[in-house]
């Protein structure tokens, strides 16, 4: 168990001051604390300071806003806010589903989207959906400047991100669906030993946009818990372009699933063997294309 001191800046300006003051001291950020407190309980760190993001008043940091080109989601937005948001529910079902499958009511009410990303777990549910949506991360530096990074590049490894220690994740940007897209086939599949909580054996996020002729014009697929970081399965996405969702043969489905599975390098652990994870991934990938003709 690590003891710590929590410092609570009330504004972004104060946040910068606190970060600068902490300098080279051992510090971490705290958002919803659902990962952080469990992590700290398992180890002992000397003289730890936690910079509390939960009391920073800043509407961009804590809320969801529609922009011209897409949706801006503040890093402190809770998972429950994502679940309740009507635009997300309508435009990005994959994000809605990943959020509502995360943990439990009690956890969703405090856990944040920023915490899910910054924890950089290979099985982060909301993060997996965001990778499939080609989201970007807006990073805020102590000098007040920001930089944008694609979420794929943000993850360097399990629990490793591209953030410098004095930077915070400020907002997440999700690009709007294509103007020519008339239907989205979008969802989140989580296979686990339990339905809730973080036990995914493997997960798959997909967001497929089709035009009025039912031709696929853009596809985003990401896999979780199947390699050291969440992977965007680029070749599988490209493979789908120009195909018609309601009209895909068994052999094409197989070829597609093979394209997904090459991105997996799963491990064997107490939840499942590597072999099982690949098999499951193959099968759920195929199931993405099982769309009832109508």
């Amino acid at each position: 168990m690590t003891d710590f001191e929590i410092i609570s800046p009330a504004t972004i300006k104060e946040l910068f001051i606190v970060i600068k003051k902490c300098g080279k001291d051992n510090f971490r950020f705290g958002a919803g604390y659902t990962d952080l407190l469990n992590e700290l309980r398992k180890k002992t760190e000397p003289e730890l300071k936690i910079i509390n993001l939960a009391q920073v008043k800043d509407s961009q940091f804590t809320g969801i806003k529609t922009g011209i080109r897409g949706l801006w989601i503040g890093a402190m937005t809770t998972i429950q806010q994502l679940v309740s948001n009507q635009i997300i529910n309508r435009e990005f079902p994959v994000l809605h589903q990943s959020a509502s499958s995360l943990a439990s009511t009690q956890v969703r009410n405090v856990a944040t989207i920023g915490g899910n990303i910054c924890t950089a777990s290979p099985s982060g549910d909301v993060s997996c959906a965001l990778v499939s949506l080609n989201a970007s991360c807006e990073i805020l530096r102590v000098d007040g400047r920001t930089r944008m990074i694609s979420i794929q590049d943000f993850f360097l490894g399990p629990r490793k991100t591209l953030l410098n220690r004095d930077e915070v994740l400020y907002r997440i940007f999700i690009p709007q669906n294509k103007p020519t897209s008339v239907s989205v086939h979008s969802g989140f599949i989580k296979v686990g030993t339990r339905q809730s909580m973080e036990c995914s054996v493997v997960s798959l996020a997909f967001h497929i946009q089709s035009d009025k002729k039912s031709k696929i014009i853009k596809a985003g697929l990401a896999i979780g818990a199947a390699s050291p970081t969440i992977r965007f399965t680029e070749s599988a996405c490209n493979f789908l372009i120009d195909k018609t969702l309601k009209n895909i043969s068994e052999s094409i489905k197989d070829e597609f699933a093979e394209n997904v599975v090459v991105y997996a390098s799963p491990i064997s652990d107490l939840r499942a063997s590597a072999w099982y994870r690949k098999e499951v991934l193959y099968n759920i990938s195929k199931s993405v294309l099982e769309v009832n003709p109508s």
């Binding site: 001191e5 309980r41 439990s104 009511t105 009690q106 956890v107 009410n109």
Partner: protein, 178 residues
């Protein structure tokens, strides 16, 4: 050396004030204090349980501004200015039971009782949730949760005794009783 010690002492205590079961309270706490410990050890309200302390079981559930959260994973400092309801606050001032507690009793939804305060508050939270939904709606139809919604809502409450059916029965009863 001296300075280090003094610093360590100085940094520790923070004053917070919040509403606990409808009463305004204040406390001077170490900034690392967890809400569960504040409730049990400082305010001596022992109805809130801490079975896993990892966010898995829900026995420590309290309502934060009417929304259920796990108090074992919540820094007390972030309760500042908020309304906290524990199981002791559910019981009415004349000592009679809340409708949720009543439904739990009527349906035999509690055995050892260790999960029960968390379950009761989660169900109460679901009532508030639907109340809010219905108030914010433009259409007139009243939304009520079905059994599936109830099960989903109570995912974070583990019970080792009842097998859940009676808990869900109780929730259904309490929710219909609007």
């Amino acid at each position: 050396m001296m300075k280090g010690n003094r610093n360590r002492k100085e940094k520790q205590l923070v004053r917070i004030s919040f509403s606990l079961n409808g009463q305004k309270v204040e406390a001077e706490i170490k900034s690392s204090t967890i809400l569960l410990d504040l409730i049990r050890d400082v305010f001596s309200l022992k109805g809130t349980k801490g079975a896993c302390r990892e966010g898995e079981c829900g026995s420590c559930t309290v309502l934060l501004n009417d929304v259920p959260v796990n108090s074992c994973l919540f820094p007390a400092i972030n309760a500042n200015g908020k309304n906290i309801t524990t199981i002791e606050g559910l019981t009415k001032s004349d000592g009679s039971l809340d409708e949720v507690q009543e439904a739990i009793v009527q349906n035999g939804a509690s055995q050892c009782g260790f999960c029960t305060s968390g379950v009761a508050l989660a169900i109460k939270g679901l009532k508030y949730h639907y109340k809010k939904l219905n108030n914010s709606k433009k259409i007139n139809a009243v939304l009520t949760p079905n059994r599936k919604d109830i099960k989903k809502w109570l995912e974070g409450n583990l019970c080792r005794c009842t097998g859940y059916v009676k808990i869900i029965d109780a929730a259904e009863k309490a929710l219909i009783n609007e």
